[in-house]
Symmetry: C2
Subunit: 555 residues, 2 copies
């Protein structure tokens, strides 16, 4: 027997929902030829990543093996699957394969970064395949909340792998291919070594609902509205955008798409033929002239993003259009955990304007794009894999998904980011732990999550900052008094004197007492001045600030 093996290594997406990046390899241990499935991003938040623009998977392991990397395959065009391809093109350089709609989106990203668009190759649909070293990869259509989502059929010399991608079981998804039970049964017919499977909705015990159930409810709602109607959903949910637009059209309303992402997605869907009919739309300029009861806006910002169209409408106006009392705003979406505050802020702003807000709390106006537990089990049954490796989930989702495997005699393996599995071993298990993590796009620079840059900013946010400036002459004697500047600290504390005065006084006293040896030693002096500043601030305002000490020596 050869000692080649099939490996699976998540660099992102396993143990979290976001920044998907899954490595597969085939070859002798340490010499595997590699492919990467998806290369996405995660979005930052104030709690842990203030000021960060995007969070990317740490690809150091893969970059060190870029010569072994045959290709990147992108399952669909959601940001958590495609968002990092352009950011990392310089570092990986491999060709990117995706079906037309996804490729269209990926090429736009490449162009924005000045990378060659032709690095993105349009992949055919299964049963046609793409060959990448020892792998033969097919894009099998699967239903999700964006057009042309695909599960990947990855054939290796040691057997077939199926990477589900994000999916739900929807036989009438509105736009894009319906879930095809026969197709997936056929794919599984000759044996599946391992299924890497979406775990997002494993805690939901009900069978998932079809996109087609949403349309009639939205139509009723729009038809009953008397003022302007605005609705938001994920821009990439082309089926939903179409449903919303058609509801507007049937209610005799002119439809206006607002927000760059919304227009771009529809444009890509039309360009690639994914979207063959879409109601006529008008420009925001034209929208201003349409009586409000004849207008339907479809806008970006379902997650309360501050700069999106929904937030701007809630703040007053967007591109000249204003909502007002008697209008209706529909969230045809769910709020991703962590985004509640932003969404609620918008709801209250609309309330202040007298706009009625409808969200999905009734369960009528949104359906998820992910398979619930019974649908996951349907997929298991169709493919009958020997191994199930849950992915696209937090630890709790992966663990629960593993539990579902037991009654079916499939081997469920829990592997989070950095755990390399040998899928072809007689007893498949973790064979290596690889260092993984997060890389922050911070302004125009990529910084490691552990570099301390963002940790310092969190500390500044919690504790405030003091700049301390001391000038010493060639005899290490003070020239003038210490000088302090504060940021993010109360001007005045318990002693009712300006905080800077108190700090400067305490620092001057310390320097008066400090021996020449301390004054002559930059490192020692820096440490002591920092200590005195923190102590003084703490007794004055109850906070221990971050301190920058600048010692100047005149000589």
């Amino acid at each position: 027997m050869s000692d080649e093996r099939v490996i699976y290594l998540p660099l992102g997406g396993a143990g979290e929902i976001g920044m998907n990046a899954y490595v597969y390899g085939y070859g002798k241990p340490g010499k595997e030829r590699l492919i990467l499935v998806d290369l996405g991003v995660t979005f930052p938040d104030m709690d842990s990543t203030p000021g960060v623009d995007l969070i990317l998977p740490d690809i150091a392991w893969l970059e060190a093996r870029k010569n072994d990397l045959e290709a990147i395959f992108v399952t669909h065009a959601h940001e958590d699957h495609v968002g990092a391809v352009a950011h990392y093109y310089d570092r990986l350089g491999a060709p990117i394969h995706a079906r037309p709609f996804t490729a269209n989106i990926a090429r736009r990203k490449m162009a924005e970064h000045g990378h060659p668009e032709k690095a993105v190759r349009t992949a055919p649909v299964w049963p046609e395949t793409v060959t990448a070293g020892p792998f033969t990869v097919g894009f099998a259509p699967i239903s999700h909340s964006i057009p042309e989502s695909s599960g990947l059929v990855i054939d290796t010399p040691k057997g077939r792998l199926v990477h589900s991608g994000d999916f739900k079981i929807d036989t009438s998804p509105g736009v894009g291919e319906p879930f095809d039970h026969a197709l997936w049964e056929e794919i599984g017919k000759h044996g599946v070594l391992a299924l890497m499977c979406d775990s997002t909705n494993v805690f939901n015990d009900h069978a998932g609902r079809s996109e087609s159930t949403v349309g009639p409810e939205i139509e009723k709602l729009v038809a009953s509205a008397s003022g302007m109607v605005a609705a938001t959903t994920f821009a990439s949910n082309v089926a939903r955008v179409k449903t919303l637009a058609e509801a507007g059209e049937r209610a005799g309303r002119s439809v206006c798409l607002m927000g760059r992402a919304m227009r771009r997605m529809i444009e890509a869907a039309v360009e690639t033929g994914v979207l063959q009919s879409f109601p006529a739309t008008i420009s925001p300029e034209e929208a201003k002239t349409v009586p409000r009861e004849h207008l339907m806006l479809i806008v970006t910002g379902s997650q309360g993003e501050r700069r999106a169209a929904s937030a701007q409408l809630a703040n007053g106006k967007y591109q000249g259009v204003r909502m007002k009392e008697g209008d209706l705003f529909l969230f045809s979406s769910k709020t991703i955990p962590g985004n509640e505050r932003g969404v609620i802020r918008i709801m209250n702003q609309f309330s202040e304007m007298g706009v009625d807000v409808v969200d999905d709390s009734s369960g009528l106006y949104h359906v998820s794009g992910h398979a619930n537990r019974p649908d996951l089990e349907t997929m298991h049954d169709l493919l009958k894999p020997r191994i199930v490796v849950p992915m696209h989930g937090e630890h709790r989702h992966l663990r629960e998904h593993v539990k579902t495997c037991k009654p079916k005699k499939m081997k469920g393996i829990l592997a989070v980011n950095g755990m390399m599995l040998d899928l072809s071993a007689s007893t498949p298990s973790v064979v290596e732990y690889v260092e993984t993590g997060r890389t922050y796009l911070d302004g125009s620079v990529q910084v490691g999550a552990l570099d301390g840059v963002v940790r310092d900013r969190v500390r500044l946010a919690l504790n405030g900052h003091v700049s301390v400036n001391v000038i010493l002459d060639e005899e290490d004697e003070m020239l003038g008094d210490p000088w302090c500047e504060i940021k993010g600290l109360a001007e005045e504390g318990v002693s009712r004197a300006p905080l800077v005065d108190v700090l400067e006084e305490d620092l001057a006293q310390f320097l008066g007492r400090a021996g020449k040896k301390t004054r002559a030693d930059d490192a020692k002096l820096d440490e002591e001045l920092r200590r005195v500043t923190r102590q003084s601030a703490n007794s004055e305002v109850g906070k221990k600030p971050e301190v920058t000490v600048i010692i100047s020596r005149m000589s």
Copy 2:
């Protein structure tokens, strides 16, 4: 007719959920004698209030009228109703009235701040009353998620007001008085001028569920567990804590309360006789010796708070007790919007330990403490007020609550913080807009939300910080080179040189070019150095940092 009037002025709690503080007044306009109902806090978050310890209502308006303030009445012991009494005792000084359990909690707060505990007076229960100037105030028992909650019956010479406080309609609340329909009907019998009414759950269309429905489900769950069981809920939900403890006891488990707040609340409930039977508990020290299948922990931290017992158990251990594979952790609570990330973090940590986590997604293990819409309507029907003023809600809740009044010919008035209503006018409406806002407890200092202190910290978190130091001689010539220190910025940017080197170089170049007039002018020089620093950082790392410039002049 006299020209005395009855006024209502929310300083907190109307247009938000949190920091409740409602002023009532009676007298000639501008000369009203005042009472304050509740004086609570709101909790900060990283998004908008990093580093802040607590958020308090701005009481400047009331402080300026402290001589007119007869008394403070506290409806119940939740932090958003009682949390600010001790912080503001110095500034208001009025006596505080509350029923025994609430008074017990308030006195503990007073003692912690070194204020006289006797300022908190134990109030009798309705139909007995407390007189405060022109007001006669009665504490009428009402069911909620903490013992001894009360609605206030506030009689004025112009009629009866009812301040509902937080409430639900629960005729078997476990601990504390059941909701008494007859009592509230009696209170309403002789006419109610205005009902100020809880609005929290107005969007929930189902009748509320009783606390008594939770016990049997929790018992079943605990009885079926094979390892250790730990459960969390709000410490102040004494009925729930008792339910949890009894479930443990019935399953033959020793019960251990963990977390300071948990023990303090139960202590207060026992001291005041609110809690007359509670299972025997063991100390954490003893818990360590009990076999895990015979142990039940009841712990603080249902909202994922980082320092609470639940978070510490999830991190490893708390007071020597560790959870492990096969144990069960129950969230007998709901997650308040905004706290999702912290709760999910804990769930995943437990998942990594192999601990099964159960939360309220099934709807079995928690009930809300607030009245749903049908229950709000029951309250309206019992009291038949002329006016309903929704409170304890965000704008959207207040607005929806007002809508419920229309079919019943009650006048619903939407008044958010700062809107003073004349309730006794023939057409009750807003008569004055008072400046209100938020005060931050920041370390040991109270700072105004608009003082810019916290805004500066948010900016530091988003943009990072540069300290710039320049020394000039008496001729305004540079002594040495400009010196920069960075915090929260990437060490290196696009030019692959240290960022501080690039900044210092650009600043030196600028200073070389700058005219003597600029160099001689501190304000001008400060502005220009700041501009150059931001520009230079932006082209280097894509961020415009906060800048502290220190110019030292040798003369």
